[in-house]
Symmetry: C2
Subunit: 428 residues, 2 copies
């Protein structure tokens, strides 16, 4: 399984913020994100939904910062998504305002007016154009956003921004997350080191359909918006678009990538295919995957991380649909939760995907142990081995359709009582 | 909500067979199914999977019985499905052999051989052609079917068949079902009364994709196979194909409809559109819906029946996809489980369906109380009223897209701890 980014410095895991116990899949230690030239951060507890919980983040970026983004494909996208999609056309950013506790989704005209107010306020305080203010909101859908609570704290936040606030930033955007999600990486461009820092939040309503949930990634590299967008589009497929917790797609999914250009003075980069970007893109892809996996590991109620590899499908697209059919099957997810090597449910999930499958060519393995092949239970099937393969914190399911060369990899978590506990009482 | 068929005679609800507590949505009394001319039934505990549980059903039908059927669309359909699909072409039936405890799915060549052995044995005992033997198996996937345990009991079963064994038949096909599912109806053809009896089993791996689960319906009317098939195809759309428990589609979904022609001597019926069939089709449609709703009411862990009506969509197909997106959303289902009027999750589920939706034209109501309209929370929204609407055993969610004339109705149940309990330990 992919490992999380090697931290530059180890620090103790922070205490949980609220809600259920910290996921057993949480990292034992967290990366200490280094300052990143051109980015300053501040957070505050503004009482958006709960008292004494940091819930507003302001990031201020240097003049000239370039921005790329991907957003939910939901037809009922939130007000901030509509704003960001439009402003992204300009390609530049100076401020990011994020709140947790309220998604400002399905809030009608009032929701759009709120976004406008925040943009006006932030622009005046930071000293930039409104179109350079980006926004995201996460939390309950359909409740009017208490806009004034946000605009009231922006001045103070702007005064308090610091280069060191990464962990606080990751904590401020949490909702039902049980641990903050952050990753850092470095890469070489023209022989000069650049840095990438990212934070994200999950942890229910997670199904990939462009970006999923909220993630904000910053680099001090100097990369034009169009090139940055190409890098992001390529990186999101095998990371945020390859994870699912519950098949539910958020109205607020936002992934923004900012490049301040205030780091090393490398040369101009005008094409995503430029070989001098190879190392940067590798580092970016890995960081996106690290963050995405943290989201799965903190899936509501998650006790196990499940990796699903599908090969031998008619196309990569078919492979991904089959992989997601398995990943989203409640019966597969509950079986894994119960450490039950119930591969029959994997057969079922392949069968219901609608994609071509030939029962007699299909093979399935758990943790490398072949459990089914040639249309039936494998001759060398061993119940103890199969059970062991689904009993740990990380479970690997591999399916080979035996039909073609299409392949895909997705990640999900198990479906447990914890999910029911959290989601049967979220609003109240 | 649709009511279950009015029983011809009320009898006490049977004690639960095994597993978790009887669903709170179970009928208080059961229809006592009358004898049906041309059908004799017998059941036995053959030890297919569990001891002392009836698990094999034999139904023997009169010579000349016509048959229609619909089956799962799964690409990994079970061995009995492959057999039935092929034999259905003949249009005639004399025997039905059903076992619970083992699905005979993904059992390879051995599974197909087992089906052949059962057909040979049943044909010899009943005195019919092999092609007139129909079969269904339900239970765990991937385990070799203990064929000999079935063939060993067929002679005895044939001797013991009786016209009165409907309740025992409904009980013999149960797996994780908490109550037997049966319904009866009568209709007039040419002024003469004909009878329809049906039994079904659920109760997980339920998502409509042609038929869902096992259901066997018998009538003493005299209707040719081709006409019967047309009636069945029309009836299955708004009944078995409009229910979902967990979005997982079984490899064994089978719905068979037998017409013995041994009842009233009505005239020949050569077209499904024949007006003399109107009353029969009405009764059949209602019986299919009754059975389908019992399956939802016994969905694994179900505490509430949820009806979802979508109107104003671009087409009926779009409406159904939106309705199923809501019905299959774990977040909607857990919210209802928690009596949380979280209509934002309905917005989310509409948004993720991929179908056209205009946030500002969408309206949502719970139990007739409008909770959202014009892109935001309804002006007259009342939290207490909304909460009351989702707090009972039956919940009604209505969505109007405001775009066109497409409409659909589907049913599902809530997602509770019971589902996790049952499915985290099914095989063991």
């Amino acid at each position: 399984m992919a490992k999380t980014a090697k931290p530059t410095k180890k620090v103790a895991a922070p205490a949980k913020k609220a809600g259920p116990a910290v996921s057993p899949l949480a990292p034992k230690t967290y990366a200490s994100l280094p300052p990143l030239a051109g980015v300053r951060l501040a957070t505050v507890a503004a009482g958006i939904r709960y008292a004494q919980r940091t819930d507003v983040l302001l990031a201020v970026m240097a003049a000239g910062t370039q921005v790329a983004g991907v957003f939910t494909k939901s037809k009922t996208a939130s007000a901030p998504i509509l704003w960001c999609r439009d402003k992204l056309k300009g390609g530049t950013a100076r401020a990011l305002v994020v709140n947790s506790g309220n998604a400002n989704a399905f809030t009608g005209r009032v929701g759009l007016e709120g976004v406008q107010e925040i943009a006006e306020s932030a622009a005046a305080i930071v000293g930039c154009r409104q179109q350079d203010v980006f926004m995201a909101s996460t939390g309950v859908i359909g409740e009017p956003l208490p806009t004034k609570k946000i605009t009231a704290v922006l001045s103070r936040l702007a005064e308090e921004t610091a280069a060191s606030g990464w962990r606080a930033a990751a904590e401020a955007i949490m909702t039902t997350d049980t641990f903050p999600k952050m990753a850092t990486a470095s890469a070489m461009i023209d022989g000069m080191k650049v840095t990438i820092n990212g934070i994200a939040k999950g942890s229910g309503m997670i199904a990939p359909d462009m970006a999923t949930m909220l993630a904000f990634v910053f680099t001090d590299a100097n990369i034009p918006a169009a090139v940055l967008q190409e890098c992001l589009n390529a990186g999101v497929g095998p990371s945020f678009n390859a994870i699912t917790v519950d098949s539910d797609t958020s109205t607020s999914d936002t992934l923004l990538l900012f490049a301040t250009g205030k780091g090393a003075k490398h040369g101009a980069l005008n094409k995503a295919g430029d070989k001098r970007l190879t190392d940067f893109r590798r580092a970016l892809d890995k960081l996106l995957l690290d963050l995405a996996l943290m989201v799965v590991k903190d899936g509501e109620g998650a006790q196990k991380l499940i990796r699903i590899d599908v090969a031998g499908a008619e196309s990569n697209e078919a492979a991904k649909r089959i992989a997601l059919s398995i990943a989203n099957s409640p019966l597969v997810k509950t079986a894994i939760a119960g450490s039950d090597a119930n591969w029959g449910r994997v057969v079922m999930a392949v069968g219901k995907s609608g994609e071509a499958a030939d029962r007699d060519k299909l093979s399935i393995s758990f943790g490398g142990h072949v459990v089914a092949e040639k249309g039936m239970r494998a001759a060398k099937y061993n119940e103890a081995t199969a059970t062991k393969a689904v009993s740990g914190r990380e479970v690997e399911i591999a399916v080979d359709l035996g039909l073609g060369k299409g392949a895909a990899r997705v990640w999900t978590c198990d479906l447990t009582h914890g999910y029911i506990d959290i989601n049967g009482s979220y609003r109240s």
